[in-house]
């Protein structure tokens, strides 16, 4: 278009040269041309303005505006030329011309400045070429787009489609059709939320996807999507914003892939991962996080997307990173199983910077992508806190707490336990728990522990068991324990809480003692009526043993008919206020044997940790309760004759037994004078006794119970025992007399007494009160008291006052049931006679159950004689020892002192022989020879005697000795004799024993020496054996020598006793005597078996120790 303007512009630019006014004849011509030129210029101006107005480009605008102004002024100049021709005024004309000239110059200048722009303007050819090029490119692009579109549409594996900004679907491909099930025509224009489940739509998933894609330029996700038919598939989705050429957001491209199949293989793994209770962190070899599960997300506070691909360091506190990293390297480098220990405490780091203790296990994961490590991480914070709390709790526990494994190893010992047992913790941890148990219970306790581990049963404190425990210092104490099984990572443990109950035991013991001596029956039962405790009195009252009572129902002690009522009574009592007490209420008691008796009780209660306890104290009030009928029944029932007398001795009442005893009928007896029942000569005494009784019944009863004679109706008499008791009746005080036929007893007693009197020891029988009830003849003799004097006296009268205390202790012990035992044997127990002189005794106690309860029989033996004998024996022994010592001394000295002159004689006779042999006559030589022989024998005798006396004096110290060695030494000492005789020595195994080796050598040497010496014609065969018999070794030396006549067995052991003449065998007869002496001193023996001509066997014994 501009190009088209160009020629016009060039033509118009031709400058108009001013032409001076010409002749008027040509005036019209002038005017006409001027008008024509002006009009042409105006036309150019109009055209130019129009062109300028329609053009958007601002290029060349300045030039064109200058050109338009110039053209306008040119036209005006032409018109002014006409005006000037008419009205010659040159000023105006010249003004216009100047302006026009200036404008022309400006235009020229502007044009010159635009030259480069003009130059750049494409030519028409260029433009045409460009247009053609562009058209071709457009065609090409259209072609490519088409191809891409067909490709996209043809893709089967991916759903690829475009959606607009509102989320409506704009394109669809075959993959989309296949994956999602929609045909293109049904889906295009629909909103993409049709691919989501209603829940996902509600949660704004589609919108979120688009928003994230816009904000971050991409959105990738995997998740469940819905097909047309409603089925779901696991999709991997990529959403990318799509922009036009000018960068404006147009919509989104969405690519979806069906991953359901891949999921199926990964799903299990994934589900497994997610279903693990532990936080799982999977780490790649370059120490980056490959995956974490939801638990790990929760634990560390990160979202999965935040950590996947990041270094695993981010989950580890700074100070642990290095060791963690090294650890991972180690794991990758080597075997994971077994995983090496990671030293120190392992901690994790949360997103918020908090660190926490953890434990983990690690396992390798082989994948196509290489080896991964799976860390299963468990937060220990809570466990630590629990442990801390638990520990604090245990430390603060008032009981000693000891925890141990099933091997008994102590793993925990609290402070209280340290105090209680005196062991510092450090000493017992790791030790066996038996170290706090006294040795004698260890086996039992160990079994108990094993039992507890097996049953894993909880045993409560005070479950009736008390244990003896051992302190470090060896002292013991009673404790009560509770045991509970505790699970720990290292296997089951037992937690034992131990409570020292020494004090309680003591107070219990005091209480028990108190309870036992209480005169009333005491029973404690719980609110259910179960008896928890009872005392001795209760047992005797009801006839039950304690074990029968404990744990049974208290109501069993009541007659059946009352039980219900009493049970209700108990309920009421327990419901009543605490001050409510039951005092001295009478109820019926039921004994074990079924009999009933009136029982007065007082009831109180107290609270214990086991609930309310009811304490009932009661006493048998039968006596007080006796009614006439009961009384009568009782009287009839008793085996004794019963008679009630009034003050005038008249019989008021008798029982059946009375009739039997005296041969009268009851009717005869009633109203009879009771003195008629005693032999005539005794009646006066009897009468006065009655009177005495009624004056002071109490003291009478005490003094005059005893034996008397009875007179039957038939006139025969018999021994009776009559007991008078006062009885308050409606007729005033009467006498209740029980009469027993004691004829048989008298007979038995008489026999017993005779027996007693014939006993060689003084016998004294005393009661619990310590008063003598009976004494025998020997007692009278020994102590100088008459029997009457003794009876009723305390036994201590017979014992020296300084020994009373120890006597009582012993006596009490025997009353409590100790077995019969002799006291005073070996100790100085001294008795006292009536005359005050004392003598040594030995007393043997034995309890004797008699009609009046347990009695104590003391058999007292005067040991004066025995003591004297013992003393004499000791004196004799000392004397003997003394003389023996003197004798030994003598033997020793004698042999020593004999040696001195012997030496002179021997030496000088030898010197004589040496210097003068052959220089005197033959007789002299003979005499010298005899003298020398004599000295030689004398020398031997003295040496043997010396040895014998040494054998009796102080044995050498004993030590562990190999008898084989001793034998060898003896044989080596005998070497010459052995060689000469060609003796054959054999021996069995020789023991090692404690003895004096030198003495053993001596014995062997003497015995073997004898065996060689007294050999027969054959070479000697000697066998030495040793065998163990009970506590001693028996050695035997057997030979095949000449043997010994049994008659001589004793003689051979006597010193200097020889059985053979000097001509036959050499010797002094000391060897066996020495052996015997040595063995006697050691506590051993020596003996032999032998038969002349067949050899001998010598035996000797040696104590094992």
């Amino acid at each position: 278009m501009l190009a088209n303007l160009y020629p016009i512009f060039v033509d118009a630019a031709v400058p108009q040269i001013f032409v001076p006014h010409r002749a008027s004849e040509s005036h019209w011509v002038e005017v006409t041309t001027n008008v024509g030129i002006a009009a042409a210029h105006l036309a150019i101006l109009v055209v130019l303005m129009t062109a300028l107005q329609g053009r958007k480009s601002r290029q060349f605008r300045v030039v064109l505006w200058f050109f338009a102004l110039f053209t306008g002024f040119r036209a005006l100049t032409q018109l002014l030329g006409i005006w000037t021709d008419l009205h010659p005024s040159f000023e105006l004309n010249w003004g216009f011309r100047l302006v026009t000239t200036l404008l022309a110059l400006a235009t020229a200048l502007a044009l010159a400045g635009s030259i480069p722009a003009f130059r750049r303007l494409p030519s028409v050819d260029d433009l045409n070429r460009e247009i053609a090029e562009r058209r071709r490119a457009e065609d090409e692009a259209r072609d490519k787009d088409e191809r891409f579109r067909t490709y996209v549409e043809g893709v089967q594996d991916y759903a690829i489609f475009m959606i607009d900004l509102e989320g409506r679907i704009q394109t669809w491909n075959r993959g989309a059709e296949r994956i999602k099930g929609y045909a293109a025509e049904e889906i295009i224009g629909q909103h993409l939320s049709v691919f989501y489940s209603p829940e996902q739509v509600r949660e704004g998933e589609p919108e979120r996807a688009m928003r994230v894609a816009i904000e971050t330029g991409q959105f990738d996700i995997e998740g469940w999507r819905v097909r047309k038919d409603g089925s779901q598939f696991w999709a991997r989705v990529m959403l990318r914003p799509s922009r036009d050429a000018s960068g404006n957001l147009r919509g989104f491209a969405k690519i979806t892939r069906d991953m359901t199949e891949q999921l199926a293989s990964e799903a299990r793994y994934q589900i497994l991962l997610e279903s693990m209770p532990d936080a799982i962190v999977i780490v790649t070899e370059d120490e980056r996080i490959d995956l974490i599960n939801a638990q790990a997300e929760q634990l560390f506070g990160y979202k999965r997307a935040e950590v996947v691909g990041k270094p695993v360091d981010m989950l580890v506190p700074g100070e642990n990173r290095e060791s963690q990293s090294n650890y991972v390297k180690v794991l990758f480098a080597g075997a994971v199983h077994p995983a090496p220990e990671l030293p120190g405490e392992v901690r994790g780091l949360c997103r918020d910077g908090r660190s926490f203790p953890l434990e983990f296990s690690v396992s390798p994961l082989e994948t196509a992508a290489g080896r991964l490590l799976l860390f299963a991480v468990r937060d220990l914070t809570e466990q630590r806190r629990t442990e801390e709390r638990f520990r604090a709790l245990m430390e603060a526990a008032p009981d000693a707490i000891v925890m141990y494994s099933n091997s008994g190893r102590i793993v925990y010992f609290n402070q209280r336990a340290e105090e209680m047992f005196g062991f510092p913790r450090s000493e017992v941890l790791g030790k066996s728990v038996e170290c706090i148990v006294p040795e004698r219970f260890r086996e039992e306790r160990r079994r108990l522990r094993e039992e507890l581990f097996r049953t894993a049963k909880l045993v409560g404190m005070g479950a009736g068991r008390e244990y003896l425990c051992l302190r470090k210092d060896g002292s013991e104490f009673f404790a009560e324990a509770s045991v509970s099984p505790v699970a720990s990572p290292d296997g089951p443990l037992l937690l034992t809480a131990i409570r020292d109950i020494t004090e309680r035991k003591e107070s219990e013991a005091r209480f028990d003692a108190l309870l036992e001596v209480a005169p009333d029956g005491i029973i404690i039962h719980d609110s259910q009526g179960v008896i928890q405790l009872s005392n001795k009195r209760m047992e005797t009252m009801f006839g039950y043993s304690r074990s029968e009572l404990l744990g049974s129902q208290v109501f069993a002690l009541l007659p059946e008919r009352n039980r219900m009522g009493q049970r209700e009574g108990l309920t009421h009592y327990l419901a009543a206020s605490e001050d409510f007490q039951i005092n001295s209420v009478e109820i019926e008691g039921l004994r074990k044997d079924g009999t009933e008796f009136p029982f007065e009780i007082s009831v109180s209660r107290f609270e214990t940790k086991n609930g309310t306890m009811v304490l009932t104290m009661g006493r048998d009030v039968s006596q007080r309760k006796t009614t006439e009928t009961q009384f009568r029944a009782l009287i009839e029932a008793v085996p004794d004759g019963i008679v009630i007398l009034d003050r005038t001795s008249r019989i008021l009442l008798v029982n059946q037994r009375m009739e039997d005893l005296f041969g009268y009928r009851r009717a005869e007896l009633i109203g009879m004078d009771s003195t008629m029942l005693v032999p005539e000569q005794l009646r006066a005494t009897q009468r006065s006794r009655h009177e005495q009784f009624f004056r002071d019944p109490e003291s009478f009863s005490l003094q005059h119970d005893g034996e008397a004679s009875g007179l039957r109706k038939d006139g025969s008499t018999f021994f009776v025992e009559a007991n008078f008791r006062p009885y308050p009746s409606s007729e005033g005080l009467v006498a209740l007399v029980s009469i027993r036929d004691v004829t048989d007893r008298r007979r038995v007693e008489a026999r017993f007494r005779a027996l007693l009197d014939s006993a060689p020891d003084a016998m004294v029988i005393s009661g619990v009160d310590g008063l003598i009830q009976l004494a025998n003849l020997e007692a009278e003799r020994v102590f100088g008291y008459s029997r009457e004097e003794l009876i009723g006296k305390p036994v201590e009268t017979l014992i020296m006052p300084d020994l009373h205390g120890s006597y009582q202790v012993d006596a009490e012990r025997f009353f409590r049931g100790a077995p019969p035992e002799t006291i005073g044997s070996g100790m100085e127990l001294r008795a006292r006679r009536k005359d005050g002189s004392e003598f040594p005794v030995e007393i043997r106690f034995s309890p004797l159950d008699g009609p009046q309860g347990t009695c104590l029989t003391a058999a007292i033996r005067d040991t004066t004689e025995r003591r004297r004998t013992v003393e004499q024996l000791a004196a004799k022994l000392a004397e003997l020892r003394h003389s023996n010592e003197a004798l030994e001394q003598f033997a020793h000295m004698a042999s020593h002192d004999l040696q001195e002159p012997l030496r002179m004689v021997a030496s000088y006779t030898q010197l004589l022989a040496k210097r003068y042999k052959g220089r005197l006559d033959a007789d002299a030589d003979d005499f010298i020879g005899f003298a020398i022989d004599g000295t030689r024998r004398m020398k031997q005798l003295i040496e043997d005697l010396l040895m014998y006396s040494r054998a009796g004096k102080g044995a050498p110290p004993k030590q562990l000795t190999r008898s084989g060695d001793a034998l060898n030494e003896a044989l080596s000492n005998l070497q010459a004799a052995l060689g000469e005789s060609r003796a054959e020595i054999t021996h069995g195994p020789m023991p090692t024993l404690v003895t004096a080796e030198s003495q053993l050598v001596q014995i062997f040497q003497n015995l073997i020496g004898n065996a060689i010496k007294y050999r027969g014609v054959e070479p000697p065969r000697i066998d030495i054996e040793a065998r163990l018999a009970e506590s001693e070794w028996i050695f035997s030396v057997r030979d095949n020598g000449i043997g010994i006549d049994p008659e001589s067995f004793d003689r051979i052991f006597v010193i200097f006793q020889r059985l053979h003449g000097r001509g036959e065998f050499e010797g002094t007869g000391v060897g066996l005597a020495i052996c015997k002496r040595i063995l006697q001193q050691q506590g051993g023996r020596i003996w032999l078996e032998s038969e002349p001509g067949k050899g001998s066997t010598f035996y000797f014994s040696q104590p094992v120790r």
């Binding site: 020593h896 040696q899 001195e900 012997l902 030496r903 002179m904 021997a906 030496s907 000088y908 030898q910 010197l911 040496k914 000295t935 030689r936 020398k939």
Partner: protein, 157 residues
């Protein structure tokens, strides 16, 4: 042979001086006879009890000009002053203690043997009962103490 050479040389040089402390004349003679029998040449001085022995050694009384012995043969059981005392005195005197003392006694008791050595006796010999034994002992004394052993040279009494 060598021993004999030494003996020969020694006898040429100077006879050894032996002091015999012995109360029993029989034993004195026996000892002298035994030395003679063994062909040992020496000068034997005899004193009869412990006190005399000490007088001799300390040159007291009649022993003003006594010669220092090379060897002392000492019996234990002596009158006036016991052999043990003599031994103790010799061995505690700086001038005498270098003279070897041979105990020659009848006693074979362990107590005597031990106490003698405790008192620094140089050796202990129990007198054999027979002559042959005694001769052997004397020869041994000569061979060992008077021939083999180097004794301290002199010193004055």
């Amino acid at each position: 042979m060598q021993l004999d050479e030494i003996k020969e040389r020694k006898s040429k040089e100077a006879a050894m001086v032996v002091l015999l402390v012995e109360d029993n004349p029989g034993d004195v003679r026996l000892t002298q006879e035994a030395f003679k029998d063994a062909k040992v040449f020496l000068e034997m001085l005899v004193v009869r009890d412990g006190a005399e022995a000490m007088d001799y050694l300390f040159q007291r009384g009649s022993f003003g000009e006594s010669v220092r012995p090379d060897l002392i043969l000492l019996d234990l059981n002596l009158p006036r002053k016991d052999g043990r005392e003599v031994l103790a005195e010799i061995k505690s005197d700086p001038g005498l203690k270098t003279i070897p003392v041979v105990i020659l006694t009848t006693s074979a008791s362990d107590v005597d043997i031990e106490s003698s050595y405790m008192l620094h006796a140089n050796c202990y010999i129990t007198k054999p009962v027979d002559m042959e034994g005694f001769l052997t002992v004397v020869r041994s004394i000569d061979d060992f103490w008077l021939t083999v052993v180097k004794l301290p040279s002199g010193g004055r009494l």
